[in-house]
Symmetry: C2
Subunit: 211 residues, 2 copies
């Protein structure tokens, strides 16, 4: 969607407010040039204070973006666009984030096993100069396979679950664990390419992001 | 699914009968160790001779695997497993393969634009020692975004369409062109991880592939 604007977009000073190597890779795949400034927001919002998972993940993503925006402004560092994201897994209404240890990862995999769950990623775009902010939440359904326990243990042994919401990564050794998805695949990895590209083009079209 | 067998699977002499760098990458991601021996099968079957696209793509994949199996046998080269794949895009019953030139790529993108299509990948597994063969076809639905013409032209300008069935690659610069998928994402890239992993485990469980 933004490909025809790419030459001009690549001249912008874009900041990705996330330490996730997977998000960096997806954004690089979109052809964008950016710096990484991981947010220091504590990600400790009270889930019970939100009507549902979408509100929670959206607010976490907004806080991440604004923490970085505030910090860069304090440092007098001028940027054109700040992009943040937060991803959660939702199963039967419960929000799963990163597992704390192997036993926690095992409980998560058992909960997800042989059933469907949803992955929600919220993305926030902030244009410091115009004050424009856009936040959206993308939802993808994931159909998780029926794994024997020995397979879960082998997966936990790879160490992969520990930095991933829900305890698995669809793009790694757990790729075969997913029968299929309904919606944006990249959203499950952690960054919804299609909708992000649309929002980026919309910001430009609205005159809120100047190329 | 095969992760708990990985140590033993990695000792097998596996051959991937495909030159596709994307298939190689997915298979590497599954943790497997293999050699690449691209098939020389001409991929010129008469589409009209098949009841539908699934039969056509399955037969192409079988021919690819057997061409390599025959060649390796003639060379007295012993292998444990040969894996081939073929991918097609189907839109309104018509089979789209790789575009011949820029004008052809443009017609394909116009055909796919703002609509749904399906991607079919057939995979064949051949175990030369036991004669066991498995072939399956995996289908994924793709919801393609509404692209302005300038965006199609920009994409064709990247050169990406030319080695890809249907004229686009979901994992590259065209990632934002896909609103969502229904089914296995990796199948759209060219190799259905989940079903392949199941079939691999099933071959072992059936005693047709000895570890």
């Amino acid at each position: 969607m933004h490909l025809h604007l790419l030459d001009r977009l690549r001249r912008l000073r874009i900041v990705l407010a996330s330490a996730s190597p997977r998000r960096r890779e997806i954004l690089l795949g979109l052809g964008l040039v950016f710096d990484v400034v991981p947010s220091r927001f504590a990600e400790d919002l009270d889930k019970a204070a939100f009507d549902g998972p979408a509100g929670y993940v959206a607010e976490t993503s907004r806080r991440k973006a604004h923490e970085v925006a505030d910090r860069l402004r304090a440092e007098r560092r001028e940027v054109d666009l700040i992009v943040s994201a937060d991803t959660i897994v939702v199963k039967d209404g419960a929000i799963l984030e990163k597992p704390a240890d192997a036993a926690h990862a095992k409980r998560m995999l058992q909960l997800l096993n042989n059933a469907a769950h949803t992955v929600l990623t919220a993305v926030t775009l902030v244009v410091p100069r115009t004050g424009a902010t856009r936040c959206f939440v993308e939802e993808t359904h994931v159909d998780f396979a029926d794994l024997p326990e020995v397979e879960m243990d082998a997966y936990i042994g790879t160490g992969e679950p520990f930095d991933k919401a829900g305890g698995y990564g669809i793009q790694g050794a757990a790729a075969p664990f997913v029968r299929g998805v309904r919606g944006c695949y990249f959203n499950v990895v952690g960054f919804p390419s299609h909708q992000f590209s649309r929002e980026l083009v919309a910001l430009v079209a609205a005159g809120q992001l100047l190329l």
